[in-house]
Each structure stands twice: as C-alpha cells, then as structure tokens.
C-alpha cells in the first residue's frame, strides 16, 4: 500500500499488506495472518527443491542489482562440510530508499520467515541480519521479533521440530553508506573497516569469515514466504511487461509528489501511473522535471523518459536508467538540477571508503567543480572536465560507489545541460552550496 496513505486499488499489496497494522508485529499476530506457513513447507522439502522453486518464480534481488535469487542460492557449495551463512542486507543506505524500513517496522516476522527459508535452502545454520545503524525503531522491533521466534521454536536448535538448527543474529551497522555494499558489509560484520572486497572470490565461495555466504536484501527475503505458500507459478504470473521481471516491487516514492510513500506495484506497471494516479501527481501547479528511479546511484531521467518508463528491471533500463533499489526521487520544475546533482556528489564524496584512487579523489573533485559552478565561478571547460572525470570514475573501481557518483553527473549534464549553461553564463543567480 501507499503507506502511510491508504492503499490504492492499482497496487498489488503483498509485502505491504500489513503496513500500519501493529497487530502483525507479534508472533501470534503474524501466525493469525497466515505467517510461518511458508517455512514449514520449505522445511519439508529438500534444500535443492526450495532453490528450484525460487528459480522458477523468477524472483530477483531487490537490493539493486536484480540478480536472480534462486540462481544466487544455487551458487552455494553443495557440500556442507564447513559452515554456511546467510546475511540479510538490512542496511538500506541508498538515498531515497525506505522500503526495508517499513517491512521491518510492520512485518518483522515476514523477514525472519524469509531468512529461515533461505537459510534452509543454502544449508546455513546462522543468519546475520545487518541493520542500518540509524534504524533504531526497526532494530527494536526486530529484536523483539527474533526473541519471539526463538521462544516459539521458529528459530534455534530445532526449527519447528524439523531437527534443523538455524540461529538468527542481529547486527547493527555504524552508519556508513558503503556498508550496504555486500562485501563491505561482510568486512563490517567481521569487525573490520567497511571496505568493499575484490571479487573473486565471490561471497558464495568465501564470504563472511571466509566461509560460503549468501547475501539477500530484506525485500527479497520477505517475498520468499509468499512464493513458498502460493507457488512459483503464481509469483511468476505477476508480471505486466517483461517475463524476466516477476512479482511485486515496493517503490519508495519521495520528492515533489502529492502523496510520497511506499507503493507496491506489479512488475511492469507504468511509472506515470504510479506518479500521477497512485501518488496523486505532482504538487499543485507544478510539472514533472526529473526522476531518479532507483536510489541516488542511477542515471537521472527526464520527464519524457519517465513518461514512457515501465517499472521493471528491463523497462527502466530501456528508459535510460536502472531500477536499482526503487527508491524513486521525483523532482518538479522548481528543482535546481545543478544543485541537486551537487548534493548527490557531495554525499558520495563523504561516503567514499577511500580505497580506490578514482573514487577517493574523483568524488571530492567533482563535488568541488559543481560547487564552483553553483557559486557562479564555473568555467566553460568545467562540463567537459566533469564528463572526463566521470569517465575515469566509471567501471574502474572495486565497487560501484564511484560509478554511482558519476551516473547522476553524466546524465544530469546530458539531459539538463541548459541549467549548467545558465550558471556558466551567469544567467542564473549563484546559489549557495549548502545542504
């Protein structure tokens, strides 16, 4: 539902069905609403069968990359001669994204159940749920839910009498954006500085503590029980456009729409339907200028691209961006794009882990150039310089933070060049670079 607003009939409420329903938070409340049935089904199946079911459902990672979940699980070693781990990525640090927060706030047991199913499928005895440090309320709710799960035999030595042992550990992050990157998260979990690791080795070979690890996003895992209960075929049928994108997607809409919030739509829903119908359109008297559809790290779309965009992995790519984490930042014609892009770059400059040269120096340098342009001190050559630096920052580093900083800059210059030119020509009053 468009939480905190009432559900819109055009939504497909699956994960968000109980958002706002405090009764769903408790173990009993959750079981009364049909919870923990999926894990019981899964525990009765061989791990391979659960993986096959997930492959058949077409579920893809909701954290940003869209990697097929069943395939990811199948990459884990078949032998369980050493401990396997499931790490749930609940860091949700991508600017503009706030869907996992609501899942944990309202339906913590949905996440725990999804984790248990995944742990069974990959033969993991331990689940780490890495929760963003700022998420104090979700953390408290998750702590209560985990304790309840243990008390009711849903976690621990003998999950629902199946003889399978699965432990759940909550881990609180310390506030670094980069710890949402999966390998940085593993380092952080191990007590090290949250620096992304080089791949290979991939986490399925050597993850947390050097042991086979699968990392899944909160929303991905929360969708898993539904697939176990209602079947892969049903889930696969939830697709309006491209059959490679199935199920529902929580879209965190923020910015200049009338009703920002979390909207759950079937894959393939047109973006204009989401913005103009479900979210109530733009603020009164304003028109759409730009959309960042997938959290701050993806290319910016202009109004024309947004207008023809279908909300699934392929649809957003076709419209010139990426679905990412589906943290949708909607900007109207009051937005100063140069200032918005500067603010994004500043964020990345602040959060760069400082490992790779291009990222460490490039994020800071591009921020300074944007600041200079904003202050009316820009030079004609600055745009080309920004594009050059962005090119040097793309596809050359350990993780994609550097690329993420470059993406809005490049797309911004390409699509909103007039605004940059206005600053350069001193046709626009210099803005103060503050945030």
């Amino acid at each position: 539902m468009g939480f905190p607003y009432p559900s819109d009939p055009r939504e497909t409420v699956l994960l968000s069905k109980y958002f706002g329903d405090a009764g769903a938070r408790s173990y009993t409340g959750w079981t009364e609403r049909g919870g923990y049935e999926g894990v019981k089904t899964a525990l009765g199946m061989a791990p391979e069968a659960v993986v096959e079911e997930m492959k058949a459902s077409g579920l893809r990672g909701r954290g940003g990359a869209g990697f097929p979940t069943g395939l990811k699980w199948s990459l884990m070693p078949k032998k369980a001669d050493k401990p396997h781990y499931l790490v749930c990525n609940a860091d949700e640090s991508e600017p503009g994204t706030f869907k996992d927060r609501e899942i944990m706030r309202w339906t913590p047991h949905a996440l725990i159940e999804g984790c248990l199913i995944a742990a069974h499928a990959i033969r993991a005895e331990r689940i780490y749920i890495y929760i963003r440090g700022e998420y104090t309320e979700p953390l408290a709710i998750m702590e209560r839910a985990v304790a309840e799960a243990y008390a009711n035999g849903a976690a621990g030595e003998n999950v629902f009498g199946s003889g399978t042992r699965i432990d759940v550990t909550l881990h609180r992050g310390a506030g670094a954006y980069i710890c949402g990157e999966e390998t940085a998260m593993l380092n952080s979990l191990e007590g090290k500085r949250g620096n992304p690791r080089i791949k290979p080795p991939y986490p399925a070979q050597a993850g947390v503590f050097g042991l086979p690890t699968t990392i899944n996003n909160v929303e991905t895992l929360a969708a898993v029980p539904h697939i176990m209960v209602r079947g892969a075929a049903w889930y696969k049928s939830l697709s309006l456009s491209n059959p490679k994108s199935t199920g529902t997607k929580l879209i965190s809409v923020c910015g200049h729409v009338a009703r920002p919030g979390n909207y759950e739509v079937t894959m393939g829903t047109p973006m204009r339907e989401l913005i103009y119908d479900m979210c109530g359109g733009m603020r009164p008297g304003r028109t759409l200028k730009a959309v960042i559809p997938g959290g701050s790290s993806v290319p910016i779309m202009n109004a024309e691209e947004a207008d023809r965009c279908l909300l699934d992995y392929e649809g957003v790519v076709a419209a010139g961006s990426m679905l990412g984490s589906a943290g949708m930042i909607v900007m109207d014609d009051s937005t100063d794009m140069v200032r918005a892009i500067w603010r994004l770059a500043k964020f990345y400059a602040h959060e760069s882990c400082a490992q790779c040269t291009q990222c460490r120096e490039g994020t800071a340098w591009t921020t300074k150039i944007l600041e200079r342009i904003l202050a009316g001190l820009g030079k004609e050559s600055d745009l080309q310089l920004l594009l050059d630096l962005s090119e040097n920052m793309t596809g050359k580093t350990i993780c994609v933070l550097s690329d993420s900083c470059a993406a809005p800059i490049v797309s911004g210059i390409q699509k909103f060049r007039g605004e940059f030119d206005a600053y350069l020509a001193k046709a626009r009053t210099p803005a103060m670079a503050t945030a």
Binding site: E351, S352, A354, R360, E361, W365, R372, L389, N392
Partner: protein, 531 residues
C-alpha cells in the same frame, strides 16, 4: 613440480607461466612492467590503487593485473590506449592532492609517482582552483615520520604491519579524500622490522629520520651486499654517496629475506664510516710504531710466523669475510693453534609473517663461515690462551675492556690485523691495516649454509688491504714466482682446496643470491657454544 603451464600473450609477447600466476607477475616474465602502487610481491594485494588496470581481450572492463589470474590463451594489453588512458586518469587523481615538493622530498629520484607521471601522466593539472589537502607531519616512531600530504593511500605500510609484522598499529583513518594513515592510540611504530614501511612506501610519505635530507637518490651508488648484523644474512644494498655509506636497504632475495631487513641491521652501518682508521702498516721500531710499506711489513709478518715458538692464538671478528678467515687461519696452520671468533648475543626478533626470517641472537654475519674455516666460538678460553701463546694474531676483533687488558701485555708476540688500533695494543710487534666488508669483495655463510657474496661499496682508506690478500702474500712468500691470489674471486676459488665445504665453488656460481652448502653441526649447537 608438475605445475600446469598456461600460455598468455602480454603486449604481443607470449610467455608460459604456472596456473594461478597473476597478470602482473606474468608480465614481468614477458619483460613488461605494469605500473602499480598498492601491489607488492611480499604483501597481500588489495587492488585499490587501480593503477595496474590492463586491457584483457574478451573482458568488457579493464582488469587489475595484480589480482587477476592468467588463463590459457589470454591476450593482455598493458600499453593499449584504453589502459594508458585509465592510468593517466589515476595519476591525475593521485596528483591533485599531492604537493609539488619534489625538490625537498627524500623520495625524489626513486619515487614511483614521479616515475610514472613522467612516463605517462599529464603535463599540467586540471585541478587549478583549489588548495591541496593539508595535514601536518606526524611522528610515527623512533625512526619514522609520516608526511600525509604526499600519501597516496596505497596501504602498503598498513598491510606490512598487519599481515607481515602481525602488529597492526597502522590503519586508514577517515574516509573519502579526508583519508590518511593513522596510528593506533598510544602506539608507536617501533617494531623491530618497522623500518620496512619506509622502503615499501612508493612515495615520500613515510621517511626515515636517520636518512632525512641526507642525500638525493640520484647521487647514491648502490652496491649489492650482505647485512653484517646477524647470522640471517639478509641481502642488502649499501647506498653510498662520495664513498660515505648513507644507508642500508634490503635487496630482494626470496629465499633469505624476501624484501625486508630489520631495523637493527638497517642502522648498523655507521662503523663503516669511521674516520680514525688504520691507513698504513705499522712496525714496532725502538718502542714506537712506525709506518712502513707493505713489502717490509709482509716480510716482518713472515719472520714473526717462522720465529714463533709455542702455541698460537688467532682472535677474529665474525664480520670478517670467509676468504680472509680462511687464508689467515691457513697462515697459522699448526697443531697448537687456538682460533676463535667473538659472537655477541642479543634477543631474537622474528618477522612473524615470513618463515625463517628473524633478527638472530648471534649478532655476527659469518659465524658459520668461521666455523667451516676452523674457528671456534669459545672466546674467553681463546683470550686466556693468548697470555701464554708464542704468537697472537688479531683479525679485527671487537674487543672490550677485559679483552684489551688481557692482550695489552704481549710484547713481541702480537700481530694486529685491524681497521682500528686501540691504545692498549700499541705495543704490538706489527699492525696491518685491513678493509671492512664495505671496502672489499667477499662472502659470508649464513645460518642455513647459504654462501652469499658482498661487493665492494667504497674505497679502502690509505693502504688498507683485505686480510686474505695479506695472508695470501705471506703464504706465497716473496719473489716473482710467488703464487698469491690477486682477487677475491681467486681467493674464494682457492678456499675449496683448504676447506672441503667450499670445494668447486666460484663467485660466478654464487651469483647474487648465493648457494647452499652443508654446515658443520647445527646453528643451535653453535649458539650454545657461543653462550
């Protein structure tokens, strides 16, 4: 080893390398240097400087050569436009906050940032409007300062302390372009091997206080040598400027010290620069030591040997080259001789991450060479024996007050071959100036039985000669037909005839990484005897 060999082509040159080899190492075999900063063959690779990105055919992205393993048939381009552009980009990013203080930077001339920028960087900056990042210089430890402004955050120092020294006192502090190398609170960079971070630093960010502003890299002459600090036998370069030794630096030898040396060894060079050296042969004449020429001195030495009655004692330094130890011992080849070297002991300080690498207890480089040449290690007994001996020969030993007292009253029976002359020994019959290990070619035998060469790094003072030359001349006797060794190589080749362990060995065979020979007894037993 039946390692599977893979064929890769790097910049058009095909090489065969074992499976698992990284591109950067395979490139070395092809004679191609892939520019790099964070990579170091003796450290784990974090692939973070992104300087070694190379183009690999069939890969969409550039690949870091330091962590990418080769695969069969791989075609790698190190010098393609794409790879060069990427490196140019990295260099530009590294330089925006790097000060242009090369004229006062110790690293200048041996700086990898300087070298690669000169090779393929931009001629001018595009970062013109801003001040560079500034952080004050920090004192990291007894011999190390950190200049954060020059730091390129390659983390070699952090990884050395963490993964090799296993004493993780360094870290990367802060994030983004505010990052710098931090040191743990209340900690100092005072590990026995911490000086290596200065060598590892590719720029002038970590500097040795001892070497600070002492010399420019291009003024230095580098000579392959062996550290005279202990029985480990770390391979080193002696850096000299105008015949003055200014520092020791490790020279790679994967079988002995990899790329490292300890601080004790590193700081043990000052004795090589002493100004109060013996420069001419001296002979006792009318109760005074008087300078003479070598012919006279050698004749006198021969006469003293012939005339000596009763037992002989030979007291030598463990820093003496095997050639000299062997020839001088041969000179006193009689049944009643006592030959010993002094073996000062200290605490063992291992480098945790490298097997069989430590600052050893026995603080002389040639204990094992001396043993092979017939020297014992019971120093006290040898000094006692000197008081009743018919002839006592000193081969530049390190003498303490007690030793000097015992040796001062030996009129007519004392021959000093030395670099220095203590006042107590001015009653010696004959004083012969010899060279230090920095002034001659020679060999040491390390604790594992590795015979390793060191080369002459500076000119000897005055008329000083290697001890093997003196002994060789005396052994050969006077006259035009005398067959004395003329060079250290000649002397070494002749050692085999005297001491079986060296039979058949030549300098050419030793090369610059040495060769193993069987030792007498074990180093443990030797250490026990020295105690």
């Amino acid at each position: 080893m039946a390692d599977e060999l893979l064929t890769v082509t790097i910049d058009g040159i095909a090489v065969q390398v074992p499976k698992g080899t990284t591109i950067i190492e395979a490139a070395k075999q092809a004679g191609v240097l892939v520019p790099h900063y964070c990579y170091h063959p003796s450290l784990p690779s974090p692939a973070l400087c992104r300087m070694c990105l190379v183009e690999v055919e069939k890969s969409a992205k550039l690949q870091p050569a330091c962590v990418t393993a080769v695969s069969e048939g791989q075609v790698v381009h190190v010098s393609s436009e794409k790879a060069k552009e990427a490196r140019k980009g990295v260099l530009e990013f590294l330089l925006i906050n790097h000060p242009l203080d090369c004229p006062i930077c110790d690293q200048s001339g041996e700086c990898e940032l300087q070298d690669y920028t000169f090779q393929e960087g931009r001629a001018s900056t595009r970062y013109s409007e801003y001040a560079k990042r500034y952080n004050p210089v920090e004192d990291f430890g007894p011999d190390i300062i950190y200049v954060p402004n020059r730091c390129i955050l390659c983390t070699r120092c952090v990884r050395f302390m963490e993964d090799v020294a296993e004493t993780p006192v360094l870290n990367v502090s802060e994030r983004g372009d505010r990052a710098y190398i931090g040191i743990a609170p209340e900690q100092e960079l005072d590990h026995a091997w911490s000086g290596n971070v200065v060598d590892l630093c590719p720029v002038g960010s970590l500097l040795s206080k001892d070497f600070l502003h002492k010399a420019r890299a291009w003024d230095l002459d580098k000579t392959a040598s062996i550290c005279p600090g202990c029985t480990q036998g770390c391979n080193i370069n002696i850096d000299t400027r105008d015949d003055v030794v200014v520092r020791f630096r490790p020279r790679p030898n994967l079988d002995v010290n990899r790329h490292f040396m300890c601080d004790y060894g590193r700081m043990g060079y000052r004795w090589l620069n002493r100004g109060d050296r013996l420069e001419a042969p001296l002979m006792l004449d009318g109760g005074r030591l008087v300078a003479t020429d070598w012919d006279t001195a050698l004749d006198r030495f021969g006469a003293l040997l012939d005339d000596a009655a009763g037992p002989a004692v030979l007291l030598a330094s463990g820093r003496t080259a095997t050639e000299s130890l062997g020839f001088v011992r041969r000179l006193l080849d009689r049944p009643d001789v006592t030959a010993a070297i002094k073996v000062p002991l200290g605490d063992e300080a291992p480098l945790a991450g490298i097997p069989n690498l430590a600052l050893r207890r026995e603080r002389v480089p040639n204990l094992h060479g001396a043993q092979l040449a017939g020297y014992g290690t019971d120093w006290a007994a040898a000094v006692r024996a000197a008081s009743t001996a018919g002839l006592v020969v000193l081969l530049d030993p390190e003498l303490d007050r007690d030793d000097l007292a015992a040796l001062s009253g030996l009129p007519g029976r004392l021959v000093v071959m030395g670099t220095l002359l203590a006042d107590e020994l001015r009653g010696a019959e004959l004083v012969l100036p010899v060279t230090t290990m920095a002034e001659e070619n020679g060999t040491y035998v390390n604790r594992d039985g590795r015979v390793q060469r060191f080369l002459q790094a500076k000119a000897p003072p005055g008329m000083a000669r290697p001890a093997w030359w003196i002994a060789g001349e005396v052994l050969a006797g006077p006259g035009p037909d005398a067959d004395a060794p003329a060079t250290a190589a000649d002397a070494f080749a002749r050692l085999g005839a005297m001491y079986a362990a060296f039979a058949g060995l030549t300098y050419a065979e030793l090369g610059l990484t040495g060769r193993m020979i069987p030792l007498m007894g074990t180093s443990g037993a030797a250490a026990g005897a020295a105690r």
